[in-house]
Protein backbone atom coordinates (compact mmCIF):
# COMPACT_ATOMS: atom_id res chain seq x y z
CA UNK A 1 0.00 0.00 0.00
CA UNK A 2 1.38 3.36 -1.02
CA UNK A 3 1.71 6.24 1.52
CA UNK A 4 -0.96 8.15 -0.37
CA UNK A 5 -3.52 5.35 0.05
CA UNK A 6 -2.53 4.86 3.72
CA UNK A 7 -3.13 8.55 4.47
CA UNK A 8 -6.48 8.33 2.68
CA UNK A 9 -7.48 5.37 4.81
CA UNK A 10 -6.41 7.15 8.06
CA UNK A 11 -8.46 10.20 7.13
CA UNK A 12 -11.53 7.99 6.59
CA UNK A 13 -10.99 6.25 9.92
CA UNK A 14 -10.49 9.62 11.63
CA UNK A 15 -13.79 10.91 10.28
CA UNK A 16 -15.58 7.68 11.26
CA UNK A 17 -14.17 7.82 14.79
CA UNK A 18 -15.12 11.46 15.06
CA UNK A 19 -18.68 10.72 14.01
CA UNK A 20 -18.93 7.86 16.53
CA UNK A 21 -17.54 10.05 19.30
CA UNK A 22 -19.98 12.87 18.48
CA UNK A 23 -22.87 10.44 18.46
CA UNK A 24 -21.72 8.89 21.72
CA UNK A 25 -21.39 12.29 23.40
CA UNK A 26 -24.81 13.35 22.13
CA UNK A 27 -26.46 10.21 23.48
CA UNK A 28 -24.62 10.58 26.80
CA UNK A 29 -25.66 14.25 27.00
CA UNK A 30 -29.32 13.51 26.31
CA UNK A 31 -29.23 10.65 28.83
CA UNK A 32 -27.59 12.90 31.41
CA UNK A 33 -30.13 15.68 30.98
CA UNK A 34 -32.96 13.15 31.16
CA UNK A 35 -31.50 11.68 34.31
CA UNK A 36 -31.24 15.14 35.85
CA UNK A 37 -34.87 15.87 34.97
CA UNK A 38 -36.05 12.60 36.42
CA UNK A 39 -34.02 13.35 39.54
CA UNK A 40 -35.55 16.84 39.82
CA UNK A 41 -39.03 15.36 39.54
CA UNK A 42 -38.25 13.17 42.56
CA UNK A 43 -38.21 16.16 44.84
CA UNK A 44 -41.18 18.01 46.29
CA UNK A 45 -41.71 21.13 48.37
CA UNK A 46 -42.03 20.88 52.12
CA UNK A 47 -41.70 23.30 55.01
CA UNK A 48 -39.55 22.73 58.02
CA UNK A 49 -41.88 23.13 61.02
CA UNK A 50 -38.96 24.08 63.25
CA UNK A 51 -38.21 27.08 61.03
CA UNK A 52 -41.85 28.14 60.50
CA UNK A 53 -42.75 31.44 62.17
CA UNK A 54 -46.52 31.21 61.62
CA UNK A 55 -46.53 34.33 59.44
CA UNK A 56 -49.81 33.45 57.72
CA UNK A 57 -48.39 33.67 54.19
CA UNK A 58 -49.02 30.00 53.43
CA UNK A 59 -52.73 30.80 53.47
CA UNK A 60 -52.61 33.56 50.88
CA UNK A 61 -49.67 32.86 48.58
CA UNK A 62 -50.26 29.31 47.40
CA UNK A 63 -51.34 28.97 43.74
CA UNK A 64 -53.88 26.40 44.90
CA UNK A 65 -56.98 27.78 46.57
CA UNK A 66 -57.50 27.04 49.39
CA UNK A 67 -53.84 26.57 50.12
CA UNK A 68 -52.14 23.18 49.80
CA UNK A 69 -50.48 23.93 53.13
CA UNK A 70 -52.54 22.55 56.01
CA UNK A 71 -52.17 22.18 59.71
CA UNK A 72 -51.22 18.68 60.77
CA UNK A 73 -51.20 17.29 64.25
CA UNK A 74 -48.36 15.28 65.78
CA UNK A 75 -50.45 13.20 68.16
CA UNK A 76 -47.35 11.66 69.72
CA UNK A 77 -46.25 15.13 70.78
CA UNK A 78 -49.64 16.51 71.83
CA UNK A 79 -50.42 16.90 75.50
CA UNK A 80 -54.15 16.40 74.87
CA UNK A 81 -54.66 19.52 76.96
CA UNK A 82 -58.01 20.77 78.14
CA UNK A 83 -56.61 24.28 77.90
CA UNK A 84 -55.23 24.00 74.37
CA UNK A 85 -53.44 27.12 73.17
CA UNK A 86 -54.01 26.08 69.58
CA UNK A 87 -57.74 25.53 69.93
CA UNK A 88 -58.85 28.21 72.37
CA UNK A 89 -58.51 31.96 72.19
CA UNK A 90 -56.18 33.27 74.90
CA UNK A 91 -59.09 35.01 76.61
CA UNK A 92 -61.66 32.26 76.07
CA UNK A 93 -64.64 32.59 78.40
CA UNK A 94 -64.55 28.89 79.15
CA UNK A 95 -62.85 25.71 77.99
CA UNK A 96 -65.56 24.67 75.58
CA UNK A 97 -66.31 24.19 71.90
CA UNK A 98 -68.43 27.35 71.72
CA UNK A 99 -67.61 29.29 68.57
CA UNK A 100 -66.61 32.42 70.45
CA UNK A 101 -63.89 30.47 72.28
CA UNK A 102 -62.31 28.94 69.20
CA UNK A 103 -59.11 30.40 67.81
CA UNK A 104 -59.40 28.91 64.31
CA UNK A 105 -61.19 31.34 61.95
CA UNK A 106 -62.84 28.44 60.11
CA UNK A 107 -63.44 26.10 63.06
CA UNK A 108 -61.20 23.54 61.39
CA UNK A 109 -60.16 21.88 64.64
CA UNK A 110 -62.45 19.32 66.22
CA UNK A 111 -62.18 18.89 69.99
CA UNK A 112 -63.13 15.52 71.38
CA UNK A 113 -63.23 14.45 75.03
CA UNK A 114 -60.98 11.49 75.81
CA UNK A 115 -60.94 11.26 79.60
CA UNK A 116 -60.68 13.81 82.36
CA UNK A 117 -58.81 16.13 81.79
CA UNK A 118 -57.67 15.13 78.29
CA UNK A 119 -59.02 16.14 74.90
CA UNK A 120 -58.06 15.11 71.41
CA UNK A 121 -57.77 17.65 68.61
CA UNK A 122 -58.34 16.67 65.01
CA UNK A 123 -57.78 18.85 61.96
CA UNK A 124 -60.64 18.98 59.48
CA UNK A 125 -58.48 19.37 56.42
CA UNK A 126 -61.21 20.62 54.10
CA UNK A 127 -61.73 23.63 56.36
CA UNK A 128 -58.09 24.38 57.08
CA UNK A 129 -56.42 26.93 54.83
CA UNK A 130 -53.01 27.06 56.49
CA UNK A 131 -53.26 30.39 58.32
CA UNK A 132 -51.12 29.00 61.17
CA UNK A 133 -53.03 30.80 63.89
CA UNK A 134 -53.39 27.55 65.80
CA UNK A 135 -49.73 26.77 65.17
CA UNK A 136 -48.74 30.08 66.77
CA UNK A 137 -50.96 29.41 69.79
CA UNK A 138 -49.78 25.85 70.21
CA UNK A 139 -46.13 26.81 69.80
CA UNK A 140 -46.35 29.73 72.23
CA UNK A 141 -48.32 28.07 75.02
CA UNK A 142 -48.15 24.37 74.24
CA UNK A 143 -45.50 22.10 72.85
CA UNK A 144 -45.90 22.77 69.14
CA UNK A 145 -47.71 19.59 68.16
CA UNK A 146 -49.85 21.55 65.68
CA UNK A 147 -47.70 22.50 62.72
CA UNK A 148 -47.97 23.20 59.01
CA UNK A 149 -47.11 20.83 56.19
CA UNK A 150 -47.51 20.95 52.42
CA UNK A 151 -50.08 18.27 51.61
CA UNK A 152 -48.92 16.45 48.54
CA UNK A 153 -52.35 15.27 47.53
CA UNK A 154 -53.09 18.96 46.92
CA UNK A 155 -49.73 20.52 46.05
CA UNK A 156 -49.03 20.90 42.32
CA UNK A 157 -45.26 20.99 42.95
CA UNK A 158 -44.54 24.23 41.12
CA UNK A 159 -41.03 24.70 39.89
CA UNK A 160 -40.79 27.83 42.02
CA UNK A 161 -43.11 27.60 44.99
CA UNK A 162 -44.89 30.92 45.38
CA UNK A 163 -45.05 30.54 49.16
CA UNK A 164 -41.35 29.73 49.39
CA UNK A 165 -40.70 33.00 47.57
CA UNK A 166 -42.30 35.05 50.35
CA UNK A 167 -41.51 32.83 53.33
CA UNK A 168 -39.69 35.10 55.79
CA UNK A 169 -38.12 32.15 57.59
CA UNK A 170 -36.78 30.29 54.56
CA UNK A 171 -38.70 27.32 55.90
CA UNK A 172 -39.45 25.84 52.48
CA UNK A 173 -37.10 23.31 50.99
CA UNK A 174 -37.04 20.53 48.42
CA UNK A 175 -37.28 17.09 49.99
CA UNK A 176 -37.18 13.64 48.38
CA UNK A 177 -40.61 12.57 47.13
CA UNK A 178 -40.08 9.29 48.92
CA UNK A 179 -40.01 11.17 52.25
CA UNK A 180 -42.24 14.14 51.55
CA UNK A 181 -43.20 15.14 55.11
CA UNK A 182 -41.29 16.72 57.99
CA UNK A 183 -43.48 15.76 60.93
CA UNK A 184 -42.57 16.75 64.45
CA UNK A 185 -41.89 13.94 66.89
CA UNK A 186 -42.57 12.91 70.43
CA UNK A 187 -40.75 15.07 72.99
CA UNK A 188 -39.86 11.96 74.94
CA UNK A 189 -37.75 10.89 71.97
CA UNK A 190 -35.34 13.78 72.43
CA UNK A 191 -33.77 15.56 75.34
CA UNK A 192 -34.38 19.14 74.30
CA UNK A 193 -37.14 21.20 75.79
CA UNK A 194 -40.10 21.88 73.60
Amino acid sequence: MSNKEKNKSNRREFIQKGMRLSLGLSIAGVAGISALRVNADDYVWQLDPFKCVSCGRCADHCVVSPSAVKCVHAYALCGYCDLCGGYLKPNANELSTAAENQLCPTAAIKRKFVEEPYFEYEIIEDLCFGCAKCVAGCTAFGNGSLHLQVRHNLCVNCNECSIARVCPADAFERVPASQPYLIKGDFTAGDDHA
Partner: protein, 311 residues
Protein backbone atom coordinates in the same frame (compact mmCIF):
# COMPACT_ATOMS: atom_id res chain seq x y z
CA UNK B 1 -46.25 52.59 28.95
CA UNK B 2 -42.93 50.74 29.17
CA UNK B 3 -41.83 52.97 32.04
CA UNK B 4 -45.09 52.31 33.88
CA UNK B 5 -44.64 48.55 33.52
CA UNK B 6 -41.04 48.81 34.69
CA UNK B 7 -42.13 50.82 37.75
CA UNK B 8 -44.81 48.26 38.61
CA UNK B 9 -42.34 45.37 38.29
CA UNK B 10 -39.67 47.10 40.38
CA UNK B 11 -42.23 48.07 43.01
CA UNK B 12 -43.59 44.52 43.16
CA UNK B 13 -40.08 43.12 43.45
CA UNK B 14 -39.06 45.44 46.28
CA UNK B 15 -42.35 45.55 48.21
CA UNK B 16 -43.12 41.83 47.99
CA UNK B 17 -39.57 40.73 48.48
CA UNK B 18 -39.07 38.03 51.06
CA UNK B 19 -39.74 39.29 54.58
CA UNK B 20 -40.95 42.72 53.57
CA UNK B 21 -44.19 44.50 54.41
CA UNK B 22 -46.67 41.69 54.16
CA UNK B 23 -49.07 42.01 57.02
CA UNK B 24 -50.37 38.87 58.64
CA UNK B 25 -54.16 39.09 58.65
CA UNK B 26 -54.27 35.94 60.79
CA UNK B 27 -51.77 37.07 63.42
CA UNK B 28 -51.99 35.42 66.81
CA UNK B 29 -51.92 38.57 68.86
CA UNK B 30 -51.32 38.32 72.59
CA UNK B 31 -49.71 41.73 72.93
CA UNK B 32 -52.64 42.94 75.01
CA UNK B 33 -51.81 40.37 77.68
CA UNK B 34 -48.14 41.20 77.78
CA UNK B 35 -48.75 44.69 79.12
CA UNK B 36 -47.89 45.12 82.78
CA UNK B 37 -48.74 48.04 85.02
CA UNK B 38 -45.31 49.41 86.05
CA UNK B 39 -46.50 49.59 89.66
CA UNK B 40 -46.74 45.79 89.66
CA UNK B 41 -43.05 45.35 88.84
CA UNK B 42 -41.45 44.79 92.23
CA UNK B 43 -37.92 43.88 91.15
CA UNK B 44 -35.22 45.52 89.10
CA UNK B 45 -32.44 43.87 87.16
CA UNK B 46 -29.17 44.71 88.85
CA UNK B 47 -26.66 42.57 87.02
CA UNK B 48 -26.22 40.42 83.96
CA UNK B 49 -23.65 37.67 83.61
CA UNK B 50 -23.05 36.69 79.98
CA UNK B 51 -22.36 33.00 79.47
CA UNK B 52 -19.94 31.54 77.00
CA UNK B 53 -22.20 28.51 76.62
CA UNK B 54 -24.17 27.54 73.54
CA UNK B 55 -26.91 25.51 75.25
CA UNK B 56 -27.40 26.17 78.96
CA UNK B 57 -29.77 23.68 80.59
CA UNK B 58 -30.16 24.51 84.26
CA UNK B 59 -28.98 26.57 87.21
CA UNK B 60 -28.81 26.29 90.97
CA UNK B 61 -27.08 28.25 93.71
CA UNK B 62 -25.09 27.02 96.68
CA UNK B 63 -23.90 29.76 99.01
CA UNK B 64 -21.90 32.11 96.74
CA UNK B 65 -21.46 29.68 93.88
CA UNK B 66 -23.60 29.59 90.76
CA UNK B 67 -23.77 26.07 89.38
CA UNK B 68 -24.84 25.50 85.80
CA UNK B 69 -25.30 22.52 83.57
CA UNK B 70 -25.03 22.90 79.83
CA UNK B 71 -24.33 20.89 76.66
CA UNK B 72 -22.29 18.12 78.30
CA UNK B 73 -20.68 19.79 81.25
CA UNK B 74 -21.15 21.22 84.70
CA UNK B 75 -19.55 24.53 85.63
CA UNK B 76 -19.26 26.53 88.81
CA UNK B 77 -19.08 30.32 88.66
CA UNK B 78 -18.66 32.94 91.32
CA UNK B 79 -21.17 35.74 91.44
CA UNK B 80 -19.02 37.84 89.13
CA UNK B 81 -19.29 35.16 86.49
CA UNK B 82 -15.71 33.92 86.85
CA UNK B 83 -15.37 30.19 86.30
CA UNK B 84 -14.35 28.22 89.37
CA UNK B 85 -14.53 24.73 87.94
CA UNK B 86 -15.72 22.60 85.07
CA UNK B 87 -16.65 18.92 84.89
CA UNK B 88 -17.36 17.01 81.71
CA UNK B 89 -20.55 14.93 81.93
CA UNK B 90 -21.29 11.62 80.29
CA UNK B 91 -24.32 12.94 78.39
CA UNK B 92 -26.58 15.97 78.05
CA UNK B 93 -27.98 17.12 81.41
CA UNK B 94 -31.51 18.42 81.96
CA UNK B 95 -31.43 19.92 85.46
CA UNK B 96 -29.28 20.52 88.54
CA UNK B 97 -29.69 21.10 92.25
CA UNK B 98 -27.59 20.94 95.40
CA UNK B 99 -27.94 19.42 98.83
CA UNK B 100 -27.14 21.28 102.04
CA UNK B 101 -23.55 20.00 102.15
CA UNK B 102 -22.89 21.33 98.66
CA UNK B 103 -23.09 18.06 96.75
CA UNK B 104 -24.27 18.66 93.20
CA UNK B 105 -27.12 16.52 91.85
CA UNK B 106 -27.40 16.46 88.08
CA UNK B 107 -30.45 15.12 86.29
CA UNK B 108 -30.18 13.61 82.84
CA UNK B 109 -32.97 12.39 80.63
CA UNK B 110 -33.51 9.21 82.64
CA UNK B 111 -30.80 9.07 85.30
CA UNK B 112 -29.15 11.04 88.08
CA UNK B 113 -25.50 11.60 88.89
CA UNK B 114 -23.98 13.09 92.01
CA UNK B 115 -20.80 15.17 92.32
CA UNK B 116 -19.13 16.79 95.27
CA UNK B 117 -18.92 20.56 95.38
CA UNK B 118 -15.64 20.48 93.46
CA UNK B 119 -17.18 18.42 90.67
CA UNK B 120 -15.70 15.06 91.61
CA UNK B 121 -18.04 12.20 90.72
CA UNK B 122 -19.58 10.47 93.74
CA UNK B 123 -22.26 8.19 92.31
CA UNK B 124 -24.28 7.39 89.20
CA UNK B 125 -27.79 6.02 89.54
CA UNK B 126 -29.26 3.43 87.24
CA UNK B 127 -31.75 4.50 84.59
CA UNK B 128 -35.39 5.20 85.42
CA UNK B 129 -36.40 3.72 82.05
CA UNK B 130 -36.82 4.75 78.45
CA UNK B 131 -39.99 6.77 79.00
CA UNK B 132 -38.46 8.95 81.70
CA UNK B 133 -37.85 12.63 81.12
CA UNK B 134 -36.32 13.99 84.30
CA UNK B 135 -36.90 17.71 84.54
CA UNK B 136 -36.19 18.69 88.13
CA UNK B 137 -34.62 17.48 91.38
CA UNK B 138 -35.03 18.43 95.03
CA UNK B 139 -32.80 17.07 97.79
CA UNK B 140 -33.68 17.01 101.50
CA UNK B 141 -31.59 15.66 104.37
CA UNK B 142 -32.86 12.14 103.82
CA UNK B 143 -34.42 11.91 100.38
CA UNK B 144 -34.10 12.91 96.78
CA UNK B 145 -37.22 13.86 94.84
CA UNK B 146 -37.00 13.26 91.11
CA UNK B 147 -39.61 14.85 88.83
CA UNK B 148 -40.24 12.67 85.80
CA UNK B 149 -42.31 14.46 83.15
CA UNK B 150 -42.34 11.41 80.89
CA UNK B 151 -44.07 9.23 83.47
CA UNK B 152 -45.89 12.12 85.19
CA UNK B 153 -44.68 11.18 88.64
CA UNK B 154 -42.26 12.26 91.34
CA UNK B 155 -39.97 9.53 92.63
CA UNK B 156 -39.04 9.75 96.29
CA UNK B 157 -35.63 8.11 96.39
CA UNK B 158 -33.04 7.26 98.98
CA UNK B 159 -29.74 9.04 98.56
CA UNK B 160 -28.27 6.03 96.81
CA UNK B 161 -30.98 5.97 94.18
CA UNK B 162 -33.50 3.41 95.39
CA UNK B 163 -37.11 4.36 94.68
CA UNK B 164 -38.99 4.45 97.98
CA UNK B 165 -42.34 5.67 96.70
CA UNK B 166 -44.11 7.40 93.82
CA UNK B 167 -45.73 10.76 94.56
CA UNK B 168 -48.56 12.56 92.81
CA UNK B 169 -50.04 9.80 90.68
CA UNK B 170 -53.77 10.12 90.16
CA UNK B 171 -55.60 8.63 93.13
CA UNK B 172 -59.29 9.45 93.53
CA UNK B 173 -59.42 7.88 97.00
CA UNK B 174 -56.78 10.30 98.24
CA UNK B 175 -58.08 13.22 96.14
CA UNK B 176 -54.81 13.41 94.23
CA UNK B 177 -55.73 14.74 90.76
CA UNK B 178 -52.60 13.50 88.97
CA UNK B 179 -50.13 15.53 86.98
CA UNK B 180 -50.98 17.02 83.61
CA UNK B 181 -47.67 17.62 81.88
CA UNK B 182 -48.05 18.33 78.17
CA UNK B 183 -44.44 19.38 77.67
CA UNK B 184 -41.27 18.74 79.65
CA UNK B 185 -41.75 21.44 82.26
CA UNK B 186 -42.27 19.91 85.66
CA UNK B 187 -40.48 21.55 88.58
CA UNK B 188 -40.15 20.51 92.19
CA UNK B 189 -38.64 22.36 95.16
CA UNK B 190 -38.53 22.14 98.93
CA UNK B 191 -39.92 24.81 101.24
CA UNK B 192 -37.97 26.10 104.22
CA UNK B 193 -39.71 23.50 106.41
CA UNK B 194 -38.71 20.75 104.00
CA UNK B 195 -42.10 20.16 102.43
CA UNK B 196 -42.16 19.16 98.82
CA UNK B 197 -43.83 21.50 96.33
CA UNK B 198 -44.48 20.44 92.76
CA UNK B 199 -45.87 22.39 89.84
CA UNK B 200 -48.80 20.77 88.07
CA UNK B 201 -48.40 22.83 84.89
CA UNK B 202 -51.43 21.49 83.00
CA UNK B 203 -53.66 22.60 85.86
CA UNK B 204 -51.78 25.84 86.64
CA UNK B 205 -51.39 24.50 90.16
CA UNK B 206 -48.84 24.16 92.90
CA UNK B 207 -49.20 21.02 95.00
CA UNK B 208 -47.67 20.46 98.42
CA UNK B 209 -46.88 16.98 99.74
CA UNK B 210 -45.67 15.45 102.95
CA UNK B 211 -42.60 13.24 102.83
CA UNK B 212 -45.03 10.28 102.74
CA UNK B 213 -46.58 11.56 99.56
CA UNK B 214 -49.90 12.72 101.02
CA UNK B 215 -51.14 16.02 99.61
CA UNK B 216 -51.16 18.78 102.21
CA UNK B 217 -52.44 21.67 100.15
CA UNK B 218 -52.50 23.19 96.70
CA UNK B 219 -53.24 26.45 95.00
CA UNK B 220 -54.23 27.30 91.45
CA UNK B 221 -54.11 30.54 89.48
CA UNK B 222 -55.55 30.17 86.02
CA UNK B 223 -55.99 33.34 84.01
CA UNK B 224 -54.55 35.02 80.96
CA UNK B 225 -54.14 38.15 83.06
CA UNK B 226 -50.83 38.96 84.72
CA UNK B 227 -51.82 37.53 88.08
CA UNK B 228 -52.53 34.08 86.66
CA UNK B 229 -51.03 31.34 84.52
CA UNK B 230 -52.24 30.63 81.00
CA UNK B 231 -51.66 28.07 78.29
CA UNK B 232 -51.20 24.37 78.75
CA UNK B 233 -47.92 24.25 80.65
CA UNK B 234 -47.41 27.01 83.16
CA UNK B 235 -45.60 27.91 85.25
CA UNK B 236 -42.67 26.35 83.45
CA UNK B 237 -40.16 26.89 86.22
CA UNK B 238 -40.30 27.86 89.88
CA UNK B 239 -38.13 28.40 92.92
CA UNK B 240 -39.01 28.93 96.57
CA UNK B 241 -37.61 31.90 98.51
CA UNK B 242 -36.52 31.79 102.16
CA UNK B 243 -39.87 33.28 103.20
CA UNK B 244 -41.64 30.48 101.28
CA UNK B 245 -42.85 32.78 98.52
CA UNK B 246 -42.81 31.32 95.02
CA UNK B 247 -40.91 32.75 92.08
CA UNK B 248 -42.32 31.60 88.76
CA UNK B 249 -41.32 31.73 85.12
CA UNK B 250 -43.75 31.22 82.24
CA UNK B 251 -43.75 30.25 78.60
CA UNK B 252 -46.06 31.71 75.96
CA UNK B 253 -46.04 35.09 77.61
CA UNK B 254 -42.49 35.17 78.94
CA UNK B 255 -42.50 36.72 82.39
CA UNK B 256 -41.41 36.10 85.95
CA UNK B 257 -43.66 36.72 88.92
CA UNK B 258 -43.76 36.21 92.66
CA UNK B 259 -46.55 34.74 94.81
CA UNK B 260 -46.71 34.61 98.58
CA UNK B 261 -46.66 31.34 100.55
CA UNK B 262 -50.45 31.04 100.19
CA UNK B 263 -50.34 31.51 96.43
CA UNK B 264 -51.53 35.10 96.43
CA UNK B 265 -50.10 37.16 93.60
CA UNK B 266 -47.58 39.68 94.87
CA UNK B 267 -46.18 41.19 91.70
CA UNK B 268 -43.90 40.90 88.71
CA UNK B 269 -40.18 40.16 88.86
CA UNK B 270 -39.56 40.65 85.15
CA UNK B 271 -42.16 41.75 82.60
CA UNK B 272 -42.60 40.27 79.10
CA UNK B 273 -40.87 43.25 77.48
CA UNK B 274 -37.70 42.29 79.36
CA UNK B 275 -37.47 39.01 77.45
CA UNK B 276 -37.07 38.06 73.80
CA UNK B 277 -40.36 37.25 72.08
CA UNK B 278 -39.47 33.70 71.10
CA UNK B 279 -37.54 30.92 72.71
CA UNK B 280 -37.61 29.13 76.02
CA UNK B 281 -38.87 30.34 79.39
CA UNK B 282 -36.14 31.33 81.82
CA UNK B 283 -35.08 28.93 84.56
CA UNK B 284 -35.20 30.54 88.02
CA UNK B 285 -33.10 30.19 91.15
CA UNK B 286 -32.93 32.17 94.37
CA UNK B 287 -30.20 32.82 96.93
CA UNK B 288 -30.15 33.37 100.68
CA UNK B 289 -30.17 37.13 100.24
CA UNK B 290 -33.44 37.24 98.36
CA UNK B 291 -31.88 37.80 94.97
CA UNK B 292 -33.56 36.09 92.03
CA UNK B 293 -31.47 34.58 89.26
CA UNK B 294 -32.94 33.97 85.82
CA UNK B 295 -31.11 31.69 83.44
CA UNK B 296 -32.12 33.27 80.14
CA UNK B 297 -31.72 30.46 77.60
CA UNK B 298 -32.27 32.75 74.64
CA UNK B 299 -29.79 35.49 75.52
CA UNK B 300 -27.46 33.00 77.22
CA UNK B 301 -27.19 35.12 80.32
CA UNK B 302 -27.71 34.88 84.04
CA UNK B 303 -29.85 37.87 84.94
CA UNK B 304 -29.99 38.93 88.58
CA UNK B 305 -33.04 40.70 90.02
CA UNK B 306 -33.30 42.54 93.33
CA UNK B 307 -36.36 43.76 95.19
CA UNK B 308 -36.83 47.47 94.62
CA UNK B 309 -36.54 49.65 97.69
CA UNK B 310 -40.22 50.48 97.50
CA UNK B 311 -41.09 46.98 96.24
Amino acid sequence: MAIAIAVIIVRDFTVNKKGKNIENPYAYDISEYTKVDPSEILYSEIKTIPLNISTPKGITIWKDTLILVAEDFLIQLNKNGEQLGKTILSSSPTCVTTSLNGDIWVGFRNKVSVFDKDGKSIQNWTSFGDRSVITSLAVSNDFVYVADAGNRVIYKCSKDGKIISRIGEKNDDKAVPGYVIPSPYFDVALSEEGYLWAVNPGRHSFENYTADGAMRSSWTKSSVKTEGFSGCCNPSHMAIMNDNSFVTSEKGIFRMKIYDQHGEYMGVVAAPDQFDEDGLPAEVAVDENGLIYALDFNRKQIRIFQLKENG
